[in-house]
Symmetry: C2
Subunit: 359 residues, 2 copies
């Protein structure tokens, strides 16, 4: 098992990464000072992993489970109110700990329920997708969607610990594993060329779900994210580099209809587009571009964007929160392993890259 | 104008107390670094104070207002969602500041909206009742009710500043002014005998709404609350003394039906009952009891509890969060100006005092 400690100004918490951790009461129990536990999960995850988790906890604790329907569309106030009601019905008090057993949706909504139930109770993250293992474990973002926008309601709230069991990835569809790898590759590109090189060597082994290599990839991704977030807990500055590929990617997700392109797939293609614009700035070479495309391809991800008109791209990219005075701020690569937020690119070069994409 | 600074570990904010402050843009503007402002208020307060506030802000800022129906029963998820929707419809972003213009309900729900909109935006408290001026300005408690319990959903979240305009009390019903005075008297009883003596001298002037004396009473109440809360921001220990009279008081409120006895009225009678039990402990004298009853009476508050059976009292008091292993923990008075949380009282003495009350 590997452990890293995430340090924020007042508090710190560990991320544990290893095999079979969701059944490891000796580990989990250390972060459960009180008797009452409520597991929050979705129906798909519950079918496979709820029983083993309950079995490991129930000899020691009073455990209830709250099962939501699976899917982003249930990350809403109705699900949140259902959590509150079931907690109250079961007399959950301030000493109750919530456990989020699931992917990003379950992690976000459970974290927000923990942040707001009786003005804040403890919670533990048990992420069950690669994306949530590398992305949602660090940063303290919790929340739900509003009909008028994603993640509009939420809070910054840190878990007691994150229990990342790489064995659960065995039941993850390969397409979702690849989507998670897009975010892993991102950390190499934005600030860790050594990690990028390590990924080039080990990408096949990751696709084949070698648990040692998966643990290493998750650890280094979390560590990189932690380094960025610790320097910028409330998102005022450099945290923006975590959005490499995301402005392009969000436009693709929206244009194609949410869910048709997975988030990681859209980000993967978006990183290629950002790399091409970085090349136009003179910051990356043709060889760099080829390396990036090759790694993304070997991760099982698409490398060619869907057919979207340039005007549609621009319209959707303008909606990004980083847009200022009508100019789209983009995360670009200053070099391999170094990202920068920039609005100093040539807009005609951006259009040219988008046009190539609109094949 | 008087100012006190409330200090928490990372942040501090000022409470300003004086006359005519809601129209004082020079003061308010210091805490509005950005252009967008959303005032949240209720229909009753809006009729009188919304126009002056908008008039002082609108030459400098983009101001929208969100008006909720008046009343505790609207402190719920529907009102909260209505706030979110109106903020989104008006394109409120992370640089928007919310202003809570109203009593405790408006302050609590606005603070919670600020804590959770886009993971946290700035807000300013402008309390318009004496109770909220002394009680909600300090401590960072925000939240809403759930059908299964009051204040079950919420967060600890501090405002940028509190603007307490004593002139708004001129339109407050005298019964509500008296109810606010119960909480003021509480601060004297729990930790500030000098303040208690000052209240004995000036109670008539407070009832007549002398602005100088009101400002002084609010300042000293806030300072006392701040001293307690700063030592115990997350409610683990001594903050409990702020609940003097409240365990009795809540039982009265519930037994009589919420709203029939005002919170402050029930707390006033509850403080007398707590004093009598403290006398049974040998901690207060008969003369002390008479002083307490006299001050509460002169504040325009009832001094005789409603007719409730002893068993009903005990049943309702057992619901208190401070109850442990079937024993009701009560805040009692060790002496005049000194409170203590205790479960070492004689239960038969408690029943005796409740019986006297069940006249």
């Amino acid at each position: 098992m590997k452990t890293i400690n995430i340090q924020f100004d007042e508090r710190s918490y560990p991320i544990y990464i290893g095999e079979g951790l969701i059944s490891d009461y000796e580990l989990i129990g250390q972060h459960l000072p009180h008797k009452k536990i409520a597991i929050i999960t979705n129906d798909l995850v519950a079918d496979i992993y709820l029983a083993p988790l309950i079995n490991s906890l129930s000899p020691h604790k009073d455990v209830i489970s709250i099962i939501l329907p699976d899917g982003e569309k249930y990350k809403n106030t109705d699900s949140l109110n259902s959590i509150y009601s079931q907690l109250l019905k079961n007399k959950a008090d301030r000493n109750t700990t919530l456990i989020a057993l699931g992917g990003g949706v379950i992690g976000d909504i459970t974290g927000f329920a923990a942040a707001t139930y009786m003005r804040g109770i403890n919670f533990i993250q048990m992420p069950t997708t690669l994306l949530s293992q590398v992305d949602s474990s660090v940063g303290g973002k919790t929340g739900i969607n509003h009909p008028q926008g994603k993640n509009m309601i939420g809070a910054f709230y840190q878990p007691q610990c994150v229990i990342t069991d790489v064995n659960v990835l065995k039941t993850l569809p390969s397409r979702e594993l690849s989507a998670g790898l897009a975010e892993v590759i991102k950390y190499g590109l934005i600030r860790d060329i050594k990690f990028f090189e390590w990924l080039e060597t080990n990408i096949q082994s990751l696709i084949e779900m070698n648990p040692e290599h998966l643990s290493e990839a998750i650890l280094r991704s979390c560590q990189n994210k932690a380094d960025v977030v610790e320097a910028d807990e409330f998102e005022s500055g450099i945290r923006a580099i975590l959005n490499l590929g995301h402005t392009f990617g969000h436009a693709i997700e929206v244009a194609q209809g949410y869910g048709n392109w997975l988030h990681g797939e859209a980000v993967g293609v978006g990183m290629i587009m950002a790399a091409k614009l970085s090349q136009a700035m003179g910051w990356l070479s043709e060889a760099d571009i080829e390396r990036i495309i090759s790694l993304i391809k070997h991760a099982g991800l698409p490398t060619v964007p869907p057919n979207i008109s340039v005007d549609k791209y621009i319209e959707l990219m303008m909606l990004d929160k980083k847009t200022k005075d009508g100019k789209i701020n983009l995360v670009l690569q200053k070099s391999m392993g170094e990202a920068v937020l920039s609005d100093s690119y040539d807009p005609s070069k951006l259009r040219q890259i988008l046009e190539q994409s609109a094949h």
